[in-house]
Amino acid sequence: MMVLTVSTYMMGALQLGGTGVVMFLLLTMIIKSTLIIRDFMELRGVSTLWKVIMYGWLGIVTLGIAVAYLASS
């Protein structure tokens, strides 16, 4: 997660933009969020309902950000 955070920062520091960069940023965001949900919040092994709520939330937010970005570019 530390490495992914530094890579996210580097993208910003270099002022990189564009669809490819944003998709990479969203992918790193999903990976970090999944690690937090699964390992830190300990949702591994809980009822499917709770996983659907948490990962569904993450999916909808990420998809919404991606669609809004693509619509503006």
Partner: protein
């Protein structure tokens, strides 16, 4: 003749008090709507958002991300410690997580101070309206998370938790991880994506 044993494993329960999860889901819903509105408004004002995003301190944003992830890791260690009945270790990890959380608050406060002292407010423009409202709303959640962790620390120091009963530690930890999760999305969305 051997008997066949069929093992059925029940799903695990959510860690901590179930009530905190209702609160967490509600908080995530609010932040999720906020993120989506930000993304849509940004799509209609790309140049403005890109221009003023450059005025943000990305170094502070990145360090704050590392601080929150570190604090979350320390909280995980605190939960593991109490499950092994190691109260002193649990308390030490909670001190460490509070320290990292305090680091976040100090850095974020300096960022806010810089903006406010430069005359920037929510009325300055649409970007700053979202930047200040989103980050300040999250800032308040970090404070609440730290208050909860502090309460858990006090009860740990008083010996109120054990290997058998540590729901409070898991409850505080779950809330803290939610605060971390929200920032993991907020940082690239507001500070980086352009």
């Amino acid at each position: 003749m051997k008997a066949t044993v069929i093992e059925t494993s029940e799903p695990k329960l959510l860690p901590g008090d179930f009530a905190i999860w209702i609160f967490i889901f509600a908080e995530l819903l609010v932040f999720g709507i906020f993120f989506l509105i930000y993304a849509v408004v940004r799509a209609q004002n790309v140049e403005l958002f890109n221009q003023y995003q450059d005025t943000l301190n990305r170094e502070i944003g990145a360090i704050n991300t590392l601080l929150l992830i570190t604090a979350s890791f320390f909280v995980v260690k605190a939960v593991h410690a109490i499950r092994e009945d190691k109260l002193a270790s649990c308390a030490n990890w909670l001190y460490a997580s509070l320290g990292a959380g305090a680091g976040f608050l100090i850095l974020k406060s300096t960022e806010f101070y810089g903006k406010f002292s430069a005359g920037i407010s929510m009325d300055t423009n649409t970007f700053y309206f979202f930047y200040i409202s989103l980050t300040f709303f999250h800032f308040l959640h970090v404070i609440l998370g730290m208050i909860i962790l502090l309460a858990v620390l006090v009860k740990t120091k008083r010996g109120k938790y054990s290997e058998q009963e540590h729901t409070g530690v898991e409850t505080g930890a779950s809330y803290w991880h939610m605060v971390d999760l929200v920032w993991i999305i907020l940082f690239p969305l507001v500070y980086i994506i352009r």
